[in-house]
Symmetry: C2
């Protein structure tokens, strides 16, 4: 990481170094954190987090290994079926995408859990009031999508704890239509990467427009103050890293290509998660959901809610 | 449609008007073309296409009704399991997305059909040689995705008629990684709309940058020649409409908000489809596939191919 203002890390009483000889590479398999890389920096850090020697963990390393380590070492919150990797989309205001890729195959109940975790995160960490939860779908009607979306629509509509605003089409995400966007990890991955790809294309195109010849360079001089805002709009890094929701302590995945500023943002985000006790409030809400599910199955709850309408 | 150069339609020997009193609205259900709207302009046109009174059909109307009408009136090609609505993504070079939304639930065999139809279209209409076919997925490895993608990967790899280049992640679409991108209609819809949404956001942002104050307007004067290229890059309309692949005659869905130029492009595209006999060559290749399938099931073909490796 290139630090703009270098500090003396070894003689800084705000920083304590725990030395390890091993580290997880991008090629390592996710489960390495419990095997041959159990004494790597990643696994050591996660163990310290679990043992209470730290309040949050930030890493820009191997996402699969970090997610596996979070699940296997720090452990998931009781009552959460599947932890998820959320991603903050750089919209205005930002939209939290849950799941952005951790769970390829999910049930409608998983999506209900994603909604609760995402809303709690946006309310606690981003100060959003009554976070609006949308379901990513191929149309706005309740009958749209595959069986997964149709059943999830029913569960989300009937859960009085969720401020569900209905199905959201992918071209509406940019239009302040929701604060939390719920989807399976396969679709979430496609969405996130297509938006990243298009964002990069927009920035490259702007660069070509403004820097390819003399006229362009003159134009660039005229608008350079605003270009920074444009960059922010098409670049997710400014918003920090991806929180792993449903893990019992805060674990943040910083972007692999993070610079010093992005790392700082991810650390600030981890601090907010810890100070605002996101994990504890998610655990409380998970308990409420478990109670609800004990009283009635998903199908029963949907039928009950529809009868009540 | 606003025509820049108005022509006298009624006294033009290149145009023949067939009068109808009814038309399909955006609110009509897809099946209306066989029911209460059977004598609408859309249904009449499709019937004329089927009867050989025309060579291709272009419409900017209700997509669901047009697709249903194409299937029910013009009929699908023998051997094609599911016709699809393809969309040309405005990349450089363009990428044909199949399916962009017609079929929410598909089998691996459907995706194999999409690959064959898409490749034939790009070769015949866009002059691409040996069109590269990619499978939209959440990673490049053969084991990525849901069961659908994993099985489709096997079928596509084993089909010697398809120039399969493997899994394509959504951030690679912009990087000339394939000519045809195969996916189910649910994921295709999400991808297409997110790209459309981000494209619009890019153009809006550029507009704000260049027109919001005097400095911006001066900058705009300097780069205005290049702005047209930028618009083209983020705006699909320039490439024509969406071909309905697997229908026995050319049916093109023009964008609902088409202007005269976009309509002209869609009509030119329809002419290319008809002149280059895309439907006939797709029918030929569908027959070959039927023959292959008769000889062995999908699972057998994959196993055979893997044994042969």
């Amino acid at each position: 990481v290139a630090l703009e203002n270098k500090i003396d890390i070894e003689n800084n009483d705000r920083i304590e170094i725990v030395h390890t000889d091993k580290f997880v590479t991008m090629e390592d398999a996710p489960l390495c954190v419990k095997g041959e890389k159990a004494d790597s920096s990643m696994a050591t850090g996660l163990r310290m987090l679990c043992d209470g020697e730290g309040d949050a963990f930030v890493s820009a390393g191997n996402t699969g290994a970090l997610f596996a380590g979070a699940n296997l070492i720090v452990r998931k919150i009781k009552g959460i079926r599947r932890p998820a990797i959320a991603a903050l989309l750089p919209m205005e205001p930002p939209v939290l995408l849950v799941d952005s890729g951790a769970n390829t195959d999910v049930t409608p109940e998983c999506l209900e859990g994603f909604a609760i975790m995402g809303a709690e995160y946006m309310e606690r960490v981003h100060g959003v009031e009554k976070a609006r939860v949308g379901l990513l779908n191929n149309g706005t009607e309740a009958t749209k999508g595959t069986e997964l979306q149709r059943e999830a629509y029913g569960l989300l509509s009937c859960n009085g704890e969720i401020n569900f605003v209905g199905n959201i089409e992918a071209n509406m995400i940019m239009k302040d239509s929701c604060d939390v966007l719920v989807t399976d990890g396969f679709t979430g991955n496609i969405l996130l990467k297509s938006m990243e790809g298009m964002g990069k294309l927009a920035l490259t195109t702007l660069k070509e427009l403004l820097l390819s010849d003399t006229k362009g360079k003159l134009a660039a001089l005229l608008v350079h103050e605003k270009v920074a805002d444009v960059k922010k709009r098409f670049d997710g890094g400014a918003l920090g890293g991806a929180p792993m929701l449903g893990i019992s302590k805060p674990v943040i995945k910083a972007h692999g290509a993070s610079d010093a500023r992005e790392f700082k943002n991810a650390i600030r985000q981890a601090e907010l998660c810890a100070n605002n006790e996101v994990c504890r409030t998610i655990a409380d809400r998970a308990q409420e959901l478990v109670q609800k599910r004990k009283n009635a199955s998903g199908a029963d709850r949907r039928a009950e809610c529809e009868d009540g309408k």
